[in-house]
C-alpha cells in the first residue's frame, strides 16, 4: 500500500463501454479520479502496444472495457479486445510483472454500475500491488 495516487488507464469502446460510463455519470455514480479514460472506436481496436505504452508512460494498471461479447456493436470486437489483453498479460507475466495489472471488462450500455465497478476494481488492484515503478509486488 502507498499514499501515492495510482494511475489507471481505461480504454473504453465508444459504444456500450462509453455509454455505460455516461449512464453511470448521469445516474450520479462516481469513480476514482485516478482513472483516465481513453475512448476508442471499438475494444478490438485496442492493440497490445497501446496497453504496453500506457504502462511505459506511467500507468500502474490498465483496463479495457467493451461491449458484452454476444452483443458487441461490431460483432466480435470485444472478443478481439480480450485476446489482446490476454496476450499482454502473458508478456507481463514472462517479465515478472503482475498480470492482474491489466484486465478486460464487458458492459451493456444499460449497466450503470459496470464502468464504476471496473474502475474501482482496477484502482484497488493498483493500490494493492503498488506503483509499477516502485517495484510493486514481487509475485
Amino acid at each position: 500500500m502507498t499514499d501515492r495516487r495510482p494511475k489507471v488507464v481505461g480504454f473504453c469502446c465508444e459504444r456500450h463501454g462509453m455509454d455505460a460510463a455516461v449512464l453511470a455519470a448521469r445516474s450520479g455514480r462516481q469513480y476514482d479520479a485516478s482513472v483516465r479514460v481513453i475512448q476508442v472506436p471499438c475494444s478490438g481496436r485496442v492493440d497490445g502496444l497501446h496497453i504496453l505504452k500506457a504502462f511505459e508512460d506511467g500507468a500502474d494498471a490498465v483496463f479495457v472495457i467493451g461491449c458484452l461479447e454476444k452483443n458487441c456493436y461490431y460483432d466480435t470486437g470485444s472478443i478481439e479486445g480480450r485476446k489482446r489483453v490476454e496476450y499482454v498479460k502473458g508478456m507481463l507475466a514472462e517479465l515478472g510483472i503482475e498480470k492482474e495489472r491489466v484486465e478486460m471488462f464487458n458492459a451493456a450500455s444499460t449497466n450503470a454500475w459496470a464502468f464504476p465497478e471496473a474502475a474501482s476494481k482496477m484502482v484497488e488492484v493498483a493500490k494493492r500491488l503498488g506503483p509499477l515503478d516502485m517495484g510493486g509486488d514481487t509475485r
Binding site: 504496453l52 508478456m91 507481463l92 514472462e94 515478472g96 510483472i97 515503478d133 510493486g136
Partner: protein, 234 residues
C-alpha cells in the same frame, strides 16, 4: 516461409540486461507474416522491456526498426549506422537475419529475439504448420503434393507405419497421418498406382546431414571487376 516464434520475454530481457543502447531490428518478410518479428512485434517487445525497466529503474535506450529482408546484406546495409551505434543488436528476424547481421558486423554482439522453427505455411490466421524440411531432393510429384519427409513424424518413405489410426498419427492424434493423406490425394487424382511404387532408401546427403550446404549458380555470379563496379556504385 520460415516460421518463428518470439522467445519468452524474460529470456530476451536477461540477454540484453547488461547493455544500455539496444537496437531492435525486425524483418518484413516471413517473420512478419507469422506475427513474430514484424513492425508491431518489434515495437511490442521494446515496449515490454521498457515497462520492465520502469519497474526495475534500469536505464536502457531502445531503437526499433524493421528492414525489408534481414537475410539480405543490401537491406541490412541500409541501417548500418543504427547497428554500429548500438551496444547490442536484438534481431527479431529468423536466425538467418540475425546471422547475416552478425556476419556483416563481427565486432557487434547480436542476440536472437526469436526461436526459428520450421519451413511452413500459414494454414489459417494464427496457425502455421511445417511442410518442408529442406531435404534437397523433392519427391512430392510421387506423393500427390504431400511431403512424407516433413509431414510424417517418422519420415516414412513407403507407406504408413503401424501407428497410423483412422487417418491420424500415433505421435499426436491432432496430426494427420501423412501417408493416409497421400493415399486420399492420389485416389482423388486417380494416380493410386503410384502408392505401389517402391522408393529406394533416401539419400540424405543432399539434406543437412551431408554438412552445411551452399548452392552456387556460376552464371549469376559477378566477376571480380563487376563486384568492384557494384561496390563503387554503392
Amino acid at each position: 516461409m520460415i516460421v518463428a516464434k518470439r522467445k519468452p520475454m524474460n529470456e530476451i530481457a536477461e540477454m540484453v540486461a547488461p547493455y544500455k543502447n539496444i537496437t531492435v531490428i525486425g524483418c518484413r518478410s516471413c517473420v512478419a507474416i507469422c506475427l513474430a518479428g514484424g513492425e508491431k512485434e518489434v515495437k511490442m517487445a521494446a515496449s515490454a522491456l521498457k515497462v520492465k525497466n520502469r519497474k526495475e529503474h534500469r536505464d536502457q535506450q531502445f531503437e526499433t526498426l524493421v528492414v525489408e529482408r534481414q537475410c539480405e546484406k543490401e537491406w541490412v546495409k541500409e541501417v548500418e549506422d543504427k547497428i554500429l551505434g548500438a551496444d547490442v543488436v536484438l534481431s527479431m528476424a529468423c536466425s538467418l537475419g540475425a546471422q547475416t547481421i552478425a556476419d556483416m558486423y563481427p565486432e557487434k554482439t547480436v542476440f536472437p529475439g526469436l526461436n526459428t522453427g520450421f519451413l511452413g505455411v500459414p494454414e489459417e490466421q494464427g496457425v502455421w504448420s511445417e511442410k518442408c524440411v529442406g531435404c534437397g531432393d523433392c519427391i512430392i510429384h510421387l506423393t500427390g503434393g504431400i511431403c512424407p519427409v516433413a509431414r510424417c513424424a517418422k519420415s516414412m518413405m513407403n507407406g504408413p507405419c503401424g501407428g497410423s489410426s483412422n487417418g491420424h498419427c500415433e505421435v499426436n492424434l491432432d496430426i494427420e497421418c501423412a501417408w493416409y493423406a497421400i493415399h486420399e490425394r492420389l485416389k482423388l487424382q486417380k494416380r493410386l498406382d503410384l502408392i505401389e511404387k517402391v522408393m529406394p532408401p533416401k539419400d540424405w546427403s543432399t539434406g543437412h546431414y551431408g554438412g552445411r550446404r551452399t548452392y552456387v549458380r556460376e552464371d549469376a555470379r559477378l566477376k571480380q571487376h563487376q563486384k568492384k563496379g557494384k561496390e563503387a556504385v554503392q
